[in-house]
């Protein structure tokens, strides 16, 4: 296969859209393909309309594409809503016993999905697996891969068997009836076995790999799967996940755990982050390392719970009253979700401050294939630890000792005779509360001094495309796949364009972007928000004003084509304000 194939599974909540989509993605991943999968769903448990896109390619793929080659429509609405997205030569697979063949061109491939499920696999519940089978049959893909997958996925023997039967029924039906109806046949392309996982899974793996053993959290879409995965592995790996009564508690618990010496994590979305703001500053003034994930969704308030946005950047940069150093990392890809998390824990410990990982629903929930993370590259650096104290008198240890770097060696309570004293009031070197101005000033300076060395650890934004170009697109976080693909599209069309993408956002790595903006004639900041938050940050930190914005705030991720179209059409002034 030279080109890519885009599948879409669509139906209502409860019909198994998610599981068919995932299995489809995994089946192709097992065959050595690169895959990107993304679910679009509503904030309800049954009904409504959901769809899952699976993009399959031999080369790397990191964004969705809005055209559809194969639509597995589990209900009629799915056809009505998505037929316009069908590519030339695209096909719709649907249950022709339940849905009259829709008008239109000849790509409507009816399969008696439910009937086959009942006849071959013991029940209606298997309908979606029949559709899965049909989709794969259409492409002539290796059935054994799917069969193996289904047996793993449904470990109960009977259930596994029924699913394999259901898939087989769909597969055979397609092979027997649709020969020549679909141009592209897919066969496994390599033996390389990549991981297929979501941003949240990668992030949680990163935390575990970094030695994080404590998590406390409260469920909130799209962050919940982090706590769920952490909890699932707790028993095996000796981790603890406390399901807290609220986010305030979760945040405060992790500060306590970290103070006592254990790497600790919490994860939430905007509303929950709001409730964590006070605790964030507690970590700030007590200089306790913590890692907090804000998986953004459209706000304010409850907003659109299952959708995506990049609206929290300025919030997380400035959350909490008063001033203290923090780091903000915004992983752009599923790989980054792993590595940024490892980095987050190391920065937190080395600089003794809170590190915020800013992701979003799009990164959190999208599936992608990535090479297996190389554990040999994972380092765990706990930073400056006080060790001499073990047999010293406790009185000598000063938790907030003033140093040139601003970093005071940490001791953990109970691990030596050193007493570890800290306070959210302004305090002296010992950690006791104070009232005088000079001590206050010295501690403020000590804490803020950490920013100088912290800044050295921040990765500059990543350049994609040629160094010199007429137009530079600037982005951050999960839009990287879409932006870089838009660059590819536009370069193929002959435009001189490149992109600069931020993974690490604070302390702000401003030099590269200032240079890039100087080099380019036009610089457009691409953001999944309405007011251009990164553009403002760049202006503040570098004095450079972007030539325009490409903004999207309908809760949906960008596609490469949307960005490319904006550039082509010269519509790069979307800002509502700024």
């Amino acid at each position: 296969m030279s080109r890519e194939i885009n599948f879409m599974v669509a139906g209502e909540a409860g019909q198994g859209v998610q599981s068919v989509g995932f299995l489809l993605a995994k089946a192709f991943s097992r065959g050595g393909f690169h895959v990107f999968g993304n679910q679009d769903y509503e904030s309800r448990v049954r009904g409504g309309h959901n769809f899952f896109r699976v993009r399959v390619k031999e080369g790397r793929v990191r964004a969705i594409n809005e055209t559809v080659d194969v639509l597995l429509a589990l209900n009629k609405e799915s056809i009505d809503l998505h037929r316009r997205e069908l590519a030339d030569g695209g096909v719709v697979i649907f249950d022709n016993d339940k849905i009259a063949t829709p008008a239109g061109n000849g790509n409507q491939l009816g399969v008696p999905l439910e009937k086959l499920a009942e006849k071959e696999a013991g029940g209606k519940l298997m309908t979606n697996t029949v559709a899965l089978g049909a989709g794969l049959g259409l492409t002539g893909y290796d059935f054994e891969i799917v069969a193996e997958l289904l047996r793993e996925h449904f470990p109960a023997a009977e259930v596994g068997k029924n699913n394999v039967r259901a898939a087989r029924a769909g597969y055979d039906y397609a092979r027997n009836n649709f020969e020549g109806k679909f141009d592209h046949q897919l066969h496994p392309v390599s033996d390389i076995r990549r991981m297929l996982l979501t941003g949240n899974e990668a992030l949680t793996l990163g935390a575990i790999a970094a030695g994080c053993k404590f998590m406390a959290a409260y469920p909130m879409t799209p962050a919940s799967s982090i706590m769920e995965y952490f909890a699932a592995k707790a028993e095996d790996l000796g981790l603890v996940m406390v399901p807290a009564e609220d986010e305030i508690s979760a945040m405060n618990m992790i500060v306590g755990a970290s103070y006592a010496g254990v790497r600790a994590l919490t994860a939430t979305s905007g509303s929950g982050f709001c409730l964590m703001v006070e605790g964030l500053g507690m970590a700030g003034i007590t200089e306790t390392p913590i890692v907090v994930v804000d998986a953004q969704r459209p706000g304010p308030a409850v907003g659109l719970p299952t959708r995506t946005e990049q609206g929290d950047l300025e919030f997380v940069l400035h959350a909490h009253h008063g001033e203290f150093p923090r780091a903000v990392l915004a992983p752009a890809t599923i790989e980054d979700a792993f590595w940024s998390t490892v980095k987050a824990f190391n920065l937190a410990d080395r600089y003794q401050l809170p590190v915020i990982i800013l992701t979003d629903q799009h990164l959190a929930s999208s599936y992608g294939t990535v090479d297996k993370f190389d554990m040999a590259q994972v380092t765990v650096d706990r930073g400056d630890l006080f060790t001499a104290g073990n047999d010293n008198e406790a009185g000598e240890y000063k938790r907030h000792r003033i140093t040139r770097s601003g970093i005071s060696p940490r001791a953990f309570p109970g691990q030596s005779r050193a007493l570890v004293i800290t306070d959210t009031d302004e305090h002296n070197e010992e950690g006791h509360l104070i009232e005088d101005g000079p001590t206050r000033t010295a501690q403020v300076q000590k804490r803020l001094r950490k920013l100088f060395s912290l800044k050295q650890e921040i990765s500059p934004p990543v350049l994609y495309g040629p160094k010199h170009a007429e137009t530079t697109l600037i982005g951050w976080g999960s839009t990287r796949g879409a932006i870089s693909e838009a660059v590819d599209i536009l370069r193929r069309e002959g435009r001189e364009i490149n992109s600069l993408h931020f993974n690490d956002l604070w302390p702000f790595p401003g030099e590269e972007v200032a240079d890039a903006m100087d080099r380019a004639h036009h610089s457009y900041v691409v953001e999944n928000n309405a007011t251009g938050q990164l553009a403002r940050l760049i202006a503040r930190e570098t004095g450079k004003k972007a030539s325009g914005h490409i903004l999207k705030y309908d809760g949906r991720p960008f596609t490469p084509a949307q960005i490319a179209a904006k550039i082509r059409e010269g519509r790069c002034d979307d800002g509502i304000h700024s």
Partner: protein, 282 residues
């Protein structure tokens, strides 16, 4: 051997005559009585006059936020269960701002000792009504009188706190015993301490309390939940002090598989375990 001198901390900034002095004494006595060394103890306190106590004693100290001492204490205890973790809080801190943590930490039965300096007023912020201010008590925030007073003993029992006691700052020996019992208890041990605040609470004075309190005797069975709830209703003319309710049930911590092999802070994760995880995604 540990002695009281080992627990000598900074000079208290409390008002002369404050009940907090008695509590400080009782805490130190209890720790010495249990032969605990300062580095084995962690006090996590909130913000208020009560929250300053650990600065005036001497141990590990995490002085947290107003209303929030319980969650960091939970985190620290799980991170290192070898620490004796004592939460020091006020009535505003613990029952007002921190009310939600209280009822849920109780229910989950975290292995902590929870001291509430209950002066029935917000002391540090200068005398506003607290949740436990007596019904009708007039303060600057309740010029028409405070609403119905919060009953910590009753709520604690209802929330399944496994150790519910009341002490009095004016009876240090009795209080020290309660604190010892609370520390020894496996599970969430609430000790609400009647604490005169001569500066802002002109009603509930040493004398007011002394005239009313009585000690629960040997005839009282703290294992009987319904009787305990009935006992918890007593307030006004007669106020019981002592252990009002006690139940044996598994702590949150002892149910954690991760702690089976010792304190979390001492455990290491093997790279092979992580490698196995990665394989699950292939």
């Amino acid at each position: 051997m540990v002695s009281i001198a080992d627990y000598a901390g900074l000079k208290p900034a409390w008002c002369p005559g404050c009940g907090d002095f008695g509590i400080l004494k009782a805490v130190n006595q209890a720790l010495v009585g249990l032969e605990l060394e300062p580095h084995q103890v962690l006090m996590v306190s909130g913000i208020g006059q009560a929250g300053k106590l650990p600065h005036y004693s001497r141990s590990n100290l995490f002085n947290s936020l107003h209303g929030r001492p319980v969650p960091p204490a939970i985190g620290a205890k799980i991170a290192n269960e070898e620490l004796v973790v004592i939460v020091v809080s006020g009535d505003g801190d613990g029952y007002g701002e921190g009310g939600n943590h209280f009822i849920h930490a109780a229910r989950r039965n975290h292995n902590l000792t929870y001291l509430i300096h209950n002066n029935q007023v917000y002391g540090l912020t200068k005398g506003q009504a607290s949740p436990t201010s007596d019904t009708g008590y007039v303060t600057r925030t309740t010029p028409q009188g405070a609403p119905t007073s919060f009953n910590p003993m009753a709520v604690a029992i209802a929330a399944d706190t496994s150790f519910v006691a009341r002490g009095f700052a004016g009876d240090v020996a009795h209080l020290a015993d309660l604190i010892k019992a609370g520390i020894t208890h496996q599970g969430f041990a609430l000790i609400d301490i009647l604490q005169p605040c001569p500066t802002f609470n002109r009603k509930n004075t040493y004398n007011w309390y002394r005239e009313r309190i009585y000690k629960l005797g040997a005839d009282y069975d703290p294992a009987d939940k319904l009787a305990a709830f009935a006992k918890a209703q007593e307030w006004g003319d007669r106020i019981p002090i002592g252990v009002i309710y006690r139940a044996e049930r598994p702590t949150f911590e002892e149910q954690l598989p991760a702690l089976k092999n010792g304190p979390l802070v001492k455990q290491r994760l093997e790279p092979v375990q992580v490698a196995k995880l990665l394989s699950e995604f292939i």
